[in-house]
Structure formats: C-alpha cells, structure tokens
C-alpha cells in the first residue's frame, strides 16, 4: 500500500514530487529515499514521532535543505537547486517566526514587498487588508507582534504566507504552541481556509488526531522513511504494520498462528487456542504474524452468560476500568494472549451490563474483525 510511484496521477494533478529524495546530515540519515507525489489542492500531512524525517521532508520542499540525493519537483520542474526565496511555496513556522520589528500589517505585506518588479503601495495595502480580513484580524494591522495572543500570532503567520498565493502552503506543527481549545478552533479555521483558497496544504505534525481530522491523505514516517500513505480511514482501517497501527489510533496487537487463508480472509489461532477470522495481508504467506484489532471492535460479556455459536470468545479478567463519559475503556488480561483493551460505548454498556475490576469475562471477537500486519521494516 506504500506509494512508491503515482503513475496513475497525471502530471497536471501533481503539484510537487519527492523523487528518491535523501537527506544526510553528516552520518545521520534524516530522509531516506522519499518517493511521494503531492496532489494539487489536497491536504497532506506528514505524521510521525520526532526525528522521523517529517520536518526534513518539509524543509526540502521549502528549500531550506537541499536533498543529498534524489530530487524535489514543483510543478514538474526540478527545484532541488533552487533556493528558498525563489520557490513558489510559503511556510507557517512552528513558532511563527514573525518579525518583531514590524507591525502586523508590515509582517503580512512582507512577501509582497519582496516582489520585483515592485508592486504599488496601494496594491500591497489592499491585499494586506484582504489577507488580514481572511484571518479575522482586520482591526489589528497597526498592532505590534508582542501585543498579540498566541492564536492571533498564528493567524498573522497564516496571513503572511497565504497573501503570496503559494502553490503549496507548508505548515510546520503550527498548532503545537496553542492550548487544546484554541487548537480545535484553529484546525477548523485552517480547513475552511484551505477549501476556500483551494491551495495545497502540507502539514507536519506528531499529533495523530490532528492529522486524522484534517488531512485528505496522511504520510506516516519513521526513521527517515515513508511507512505508509493513505487517507485517514485507510490508515485506521488497514494499517500495514504494527508501527502504523500503533501510531494511528489505539490497537490491540497480539501474536497469531495462521492456519488457513481464503479470499482475503485469514484464520488465526491465538496463544490461548481461540480461533479468530480476520482480514488477511494481501500476498502474505507467513505462518505466524502479528494481528491488530481496534479496541472498539471488541466487546465484553460476563463469563457466566451463554455464548453465541460462531463468535470467537477469549476468556479474560478485567484489570482496569476507565469511565470516559461516552464510553468505558476496559483493560483486560487474557491468559495466553496478553493485555487487551476494549472500548465499550455507553448504551451498549447499559444493555450488556458493566464490568467491575476483577470480574471474569469473555472478550468477543466478531468474524472479519482485525487484520494481519506486515513485519516492521
């Protein structure tokens, strides 16, 4: 599922491309043969922990770091050797990097003032006003940067970038410095902005919820490499490896002996002997594999209740119970299988009864739930 090429996407739909882009800093391999096409108008996120190469990828696109090997293409042109100030992309920096010696309006109009031949003052002023209005800071033009709150500064950084009508807007963890409530608001505003401007957005984040809620596609990175690319739903429903399953949402990962495969499904025996039916990994032929299943795909019934024929049931003991309002998160210990997490929605909890810590239960694994994971590379 890793996209090594995007032959099916025509050049017209591709705004930028990493072609085997590799970046070395001394002995450190920060980006390792990155191949990725960025579609025009999409919202793409690079997601991964710190040091995974996502920021390096963004900086190569911006022109701050040139690739050691491979190439960066924008609009079909190799821009690997083109310096940052000549690239048609703009960045919203992690800590905004606003110019402290300029007013809000001077910051926003900065990019326009760099144009040669020069734009007229009235044109710059008019576009600045429009950009400020877009980020709802119309009255703030004469303010100084230090007079603004964090959220306002972020909007100034946004206005300063979009005023230049870039081919791609790069966002380097723009929400990291905002508190949780403000972050949610900014995420919505950013999405609306992206839709109304129809600019390609490329976001770098370590926050999986942010990536899931905003992106058309997510590119999951680790150790300088692309691990998997896909829509949020694809990544959540069909993580290829343990790394992705762990990083996007929560997942129970258990070992299984695969003793049968048929038309995309696999039959696996868990460590305690329970047989489960789950989605297979296309092209896989391993006997043993790791299996992932989402906590909300499982459910719990008390052990003294009769089981329905055909539903896999794993005996387990409740070890932790966390009430979260809309759901209850159970941690369970199952002999031979290991720790499992089950998220039970409230209404189901009411119907099936809630379970106390220490009670003996069956964890139910419906047929076709979960999937076989590839080995982490």
């Amino acid at each position: 599922m890793t996209e090594t090429s995007c032959a099916h996407v025509s050049a017209k739909d591709t705004v930028a491309e990493f072609a085997g882009a590799t970046k070395r800093f001394g002995a450190i391999l920060a980006a390792d043969r990155i191949d990725l096409s960025i579609r025009r108008g999409e919202f793409l996120s690079f997601l991964g922990p710190s040091g995974c190469g996502k920021t390096t990828a963004l900086r190569m696109l911006a022109g701050f770091d040139g690739p050691s090997e491979g190439a960066i293409l924008i609009d079909g042109q190799d821009v690997s050797a083109v310096p940052a100030h000549m690239r048609p992309v703009n960045m919203v920096f992690q800590h905004y990097a606003l110019f402290p010696h300029m007013t809000v309006a001077q910051n926003v109009g900065y990019g326009l003032r760099q144009r040669r031949p020069r734009l007229s003052k009235s044109e710059i002023a008019q576009k600045t006003d429009k950009a400020l209005a877009t980020v709802r800071l119309a009255e703030f033009g004469t303010r100084r940067i230090w007079e603004l709150s964090g959220g306002q500064q972020q909007r100034v950084a946004l206005a300063r970038a979009i005023i230049n009508e870039p081919q791609i807007l790069l966002l380097d963890e723009p929400m990291a410095a905002l508190d949780a409530k403000l972050r949610g608001e900014m995420q919505r505003e950013l999405l609306e902005l992206q839709r109304s401007l129809n600019i390609t957005f490329v976001l770098v984040t370590h926050d999986q919820e942010e990536a899931l809620s905003m992106s058309d596609r997510i590119c999951i990175m680790g150790k300088g490499r692309i691990i998997q690319v896909g829509s949020p739903q694809e990544l959540y429903d069909r993580p290829r490896s343990r790394y992705v399953a762990d990083f996007v949402g929560k997942a129970n990962i258990v070992a299984g002996q695969i003793d049968g495969r048929q038309s995309g499904m696999a039959q696996a025996i868990l460590g305690n002997g329970t047989t489960v039916i789950l989605r297979d990994l296309p092209g896989d032929s391993r006997q043993t594999a790791e299996i992932a299943v989402r906590p909300e795909a499982l459910s719990i019934v008390a052990q003294d209740l009769p089981l329905t024929e055909g539903i896999a049931a794993i005996p387990a003991r409740v070890t932790h119970r966390t009430f979260l309002g809309d759901r209850i998160e159970y941690l369970l210990m199952a002999d031979g299988v290991g720790q499992l997490q089950v998220n039970a929605p409230r209404q189901a909890g009411g119907a099936l009864g809630e379970h106390k810590v220490g009670s003996l239960v069956h964890v139910l694994w419906p047929e076709g739930t979960g999937l076989v994971l590839a080995d982490d590379t």
């Binding site: 100030h85 920096f93 990097a97 110019f99 010696h101 760099q114 230090w146 230049n164």
Partner: protein
C-alpha cells in the same frame, strides 16, 4: 509598614548616593567653580569670577578639533571592523570554535593598554611598517605621530568594546526569522538589511555610544602614538592640570568637554528614539 519600606529603599540607595556625591557631583562642582576663577601666580587656582578662561578656549581649538574628528571617525571605523567580526562569531562560527575565538577577542585586555600602545609605536615607527613599505618601493612614508597612528591605536584599543554588544545582540537573533524572510522571497543580502541589521541595532547603538564616550575622554593613546603632534582634549587637560598648572583654564576646558558630550548624547538619544519609535526591542542606550 510604609515607613520601613521607605527606610529599606533609602538604605539600598545610600552607598551609591554617597559614592556619586563624593566622587562625581562634588568634583564636578569644584571644576565648575574653578572654571570661573584664575591661575594664581605660583600655579593652581586663585578664587575669582571671570569669563576669561572661557574666552580663552579657542587657544585649545586643535585639541577639540582632533577629538571631535577622531572620536567619531574612530567609532565608525571600529563599528565597520567589529560588525563583521561579531556577525561571524554569533552566527557563522561552530560552537566548538566560538568560545576560543571569543576568548581571543578578550585576551588583549590581559595586558595594559599602555604596553599595547607602545607595541604600536614599534609597529608604526621607522623599523616597522614604513620599513616594510620601503621594501616594496613606497619610500618615506611616515606613520607614527600622525592622526592615522592615533586612529589605528584607538580602533585597536576599543574594538572589543564594540564587538561584544553587537555580538550579544546578534547572538539573540532568531535565525528562523531569516528562514522566514527567505521563504517570503527575500535574497540573503536583502534579509540582512531588512532583518539582521535592524534587529542588531540595539547592540550597534550601545557599542557606538560606549566607544564614542570613552574616545571623547581619551588621552593615553594620542599621547603615545600622536607624539605631541596629535593631541586630544584629554591631553590638553593633563597638560593644563599637571604641567602648566593652570587649573582655572583646565577647568573651563573640562566643562566645555562635558557640555559637548551632553549635547552629543542628547542628540543621539533623540535620534535613536525616533528610529525606534514605539519599539520595545531597541534600547536607547
């Protein structure tokens, strides 16, 4: 409560207040009074009230002219040499070398300026640079005891005082601002003028003020490298107080220097205020 607070505040200020009163205000008052007096027959000071000493100031015109040209020129020269050095130290050099290079900037301070200035006497004297220039065919070039020699001396002596404030200002510069400027379409040389230079102005202004004020009162370097031909107001004061013992005239020269300095600083402060109007990141001094 209020009483003890007032007392605590007074206690904090007392040492400094006594110090300044005894060693600054009192001598200043004495100099002011002396400047209206006369030279007594055996030298020193005789009481009186006359403006004669001030009327006599043009006799020391050369000292004022030298000071008021070489101090600003020296400040600008020091700035032009110090800025690239400070920029290199703050931004370009790797951390491994930075400390060592910073120490190298300070090392000259470990030796007295007197000795270091004498070193320049040999460098600029007959067997030094002029001999070297003669070897390549530039005969008869006299460097010692010229304004150039004094300029070399003062720039050399005061360079670290210019380097450090600028270094500190540039050290604080957020390099991401330069990336932001590049990202917004600014070539490197232009982002230097638009971002780096304005944001390092506090250091430039502090360093310039520091060097300029000290140069206005300089007397050692002109005395050594000017050889009695290029002298500052400071040299005139040494001469008037210690050699010809005309304390009254010396006081008038000193008062004139203080007034010139006050006017310069006032004009400078106003210029800086206008330059940095409404900014909190540019210090006045």
């Amino acid at each position: 409560m209020a009483m003890t607070q007032t007392r605590a505040r007074a206690l904090l200020l007392t040492p400094a207040a006594l110090w300044y009163a005894a060693l600054l205000l009192l001598p200043l008052a004495v100099v002011l009074i002396f400047s209206f007096g006369e030279r007594s027959a055996i030298g020193g000071y005789a009481p009186g009230f006359t403006l004669e000493q001030y009327a006599n100031l043009p006799a020391r015109f050369a000292a004022f002219r030298n000071t008021l040209t070489l101090a600003p020129v020296g400040t600008v020269a020091a700035l032009l040499i110090a800025y690239p050095l400070a920029y290199f130290l703050a931004i370009k050099v790797t951390p491994r070398w930075k400390t060592m290079l910073l120490v190298l900037v300070i090392v000259p301070f470990w030796t007295s300026i007197l000795i270091r200035s004498y070193a320049w006497v040999f460098l600029l004297g007959g067997h030094g640079l002029p001999a070297l220039l003669a070897a390549v065919g530039l005969e008869d070039i006299r460097l010692l005891n010229t304004p150039f020699a004094v300029l070399v001396g003062i720039v050399y002596g005061y360079l670290p005082l210019m380097v450090f404030p600028i270094y500190v200002a540039l050290e604080k510069l957020d390099l991401r601002l330069l990336e932001a400027a590049a990202d917004l379409g600014t070539p490197p040389w232009r982002s230097f003028l638009q971002i780096t230079l304005p944001l390092s102005m506090p250091g430039v202004l502090t360093g310039s003020m520091l060097v300029f004020i000290l140069l206005m009162g300089e007397f050692l370097i002109p005395a050594i490298l000017g050889g009695g031909k290029v002298f500052f107001v400071g040299n005139a004061l040494v001469d008037l107080f210690l050699q010809s013992r005309n304390w009254a005239f010396g006081s008038a020269v000193a008062v004139a220097l203080v007034i010139i300095m006050l006017i310069t600083v006032a004009v400078y402060t106003r210029a800086v205020k206008r330059f940095g109007a409404g900014r909190d990141d540019v210090g006045i001094m």
